[in-house]
Symmetry: C2
Amino acid sequence: MSAKKHDHAAVLAQVRAQMPDDALLCDLGDLFKIFGDTTRIRILYSLFESELCVCAIAELLQMEQSAISHQLKILRNAKLVDCRRDGKTNTYFLADEHVRSIIGQGYEHLTEDER
Amino acid sequence: MSAKKHDHAAVLAQVRAQMPDDALLCDLGDLFKIFGDTTRIRILYSLFESELCVCAIAELLQMEQSAISHQLKILRNAKLVDCRRDGKTNTYFLADEHVRSIIGQGYEHLTEDER
DNA sequence: CTATCATATGAATATAAATTCATATGAAAG
DNA sequence: CTTTCATATGAATTTATATTCATATGATAG
């Protein structure tokens, strides 16, 4: 006389209790989505070494300036990079040390599993 | 008599020297792409607390079993989760402690910036 | 002011990725 | 073996996202 199908009420209650609310989970997804693109990863990695202007990044990545600008905007909105006007050029730099640690953790996951 | 436009040869050489190769950057992007989806983030968070079978996850997230299975496959391919047969059910669990740390870093970035 | 360099941005297009639907597989029970 | 529960999967559809193209803005030099 137990449950008809498969019952998980007990575990689910426990799991629900510690789940962050949907808004936060959504924000987390949105944040990682930003790291989930090769172009943006390459931009961020470039800025690990030095601050750079837009055309330098475009030259480095061999991509159109427009494409880079679009991606930089996304990175700026997420507060992962910031920029400063230097005359005609716009110099971009990392805005948050978490960028390094997040990418670092991803790097570890990849390299440790390549055994 | 300097360069015609804007010259960044020096910095770019330095930046190029420490850039990982494209394959790794691509893999990094692919890895973070997996975290960049609310459904997958919610699945991973659920598994923080307890291992769960597919139908439990579907019930928890109020989504179709099929959608969950598709996402679990992606998580499995990335070696972020693993599973074990328990009779008719399939029990999923976290396969890698990096999952916690990667999500944790993202969480910190979000909450510290909400000042 | 006008021309030029550096960057940003809107619209259009191309591409990818999530969800659904229908159905297949697989295990256990009767 | 047949039915049922649990899960997986392929195809189709929808939705999101990256890049390109054309153009606008903004600053400096002449």
